[in-house]
C-alpha cells in the first residue's frame, strides 16, 4: 500500500506548481486555471488524509469542493468575458489602471 505521505507530497507539489503558474502567467484565463490546479491539490490532500483515517467523509468533502469549484468557474468565466467585452483584452498587463 502506498503511504499517505506520497500522496501528500504530490499534493504539495501540485499546489506549488499552481502557485508558480498563477504568478508566472499574464493572462486572466490561465491564472484562473492555475487556481483550479491549487483546488485539485487540496482535493488530493483531503482524499489522502481521508483514507489515512479510514473514513468516507473525505469523499463527501471533495464532492462539495468540486461543486463549489464548478460554480466559481462559471461566475469567474462570466466576469472574464465581461472584462474582455469592455477592454478587448484579458492580459493583466493591460489592466493596471489602479497602478498610480
Amino acid at each position: 500500500m502506498i503511504p499517505p505521505l506520497a500522496f501528500l507530497g504530490l499534493a504539495a507539489l501540485l499546489f506549488v506548481l499552481g502557485t508558480i503558474a498563477f504568478f508566472v502567467k499574464k493572462d486572466l484565463l490561465v491564472q484562473f486555471m492555475a487556481v483550479e490546479i491549487m483546488l485539485n491539490a487540496g482535493n488530493l490532500a483531503i482524499l489522502a488524509l481521508g483514507r489515512a483515517t479510514g473514513k468516507a467523509d473525505g469523499q463527501a468533502l471533495v464532492l462539495f469542493v468540486i461543486t463549489v469549484a464548478a460554480a466559481e468557474a462559471v461566475v469567474g468565466l462570466a466576469i472574464i468575458v465581461l472584462v474582455f467585452r469592455r477592454r478587448k483584452s484579458i492580459r493583466t498587463d493591460d489592466l493596471k489602471d489602479l497602478k498610480g
Partner: protein, 164 residues
Amino acid sequence: MAWVIFAILSILCAGAVTAMIVSRNQAHNALFLVLAFASLGGIFGLLEAPFAAGVQVLVYAGAIMVLFLFAIMMFDLREAGPREKRRLKVVLAGGLGLVLLAELVLAGRQALSAGRASAAAGGDLAHLGRLLFTDYLYAFEITSLLILAALVGALALAGRREGE
C-alpha cells in the same frame, strides 16, 4: 504494482502542469490541464475513492475544462505578444514556490506523525450516499442552492446585450 501506477500517474500529472506553465498557447494550456485532471482522477482511484475519481473525470476534466475551452474560443486567439522580459518575475515565483513547498512538506509530516489510523474501506458508495443525505444534508442542499445562484449570476453577468 500500485507504486508503478502511482509513479506513472503522478509524473503524468506533474508533467502536464509543468508543460502548462511552459506553454504559451491558451488552448494548449487548457488541454494540458485536462490531461492533468484526468490523471489526478486515476490517482483518486488509487486512493480507494472511486466516487471522487468519477466526479473528477466527469466534472473537472469534462465539464469545467470544456467550459474553459469554450471561453478560450470566444476570445480571439491572437498570438501572444513578443516575449517580454520577465526573468525577475520567474525567479521570484520560483523562490516563492520553493518556500511554499518546504512549508507544506513540514506541515504534512507533522500532520501525519500526530496520529496514524489503520486504513479501512472508505470506498463504499452506499455508505457515502447515506453520509451525504444524513450528516451532510444541509451542506448538500446549500450546495444545490449555490449552483443555482451561480447559474443565475452568470446569466445576469454575461447574458446581457451590449447596448443595455
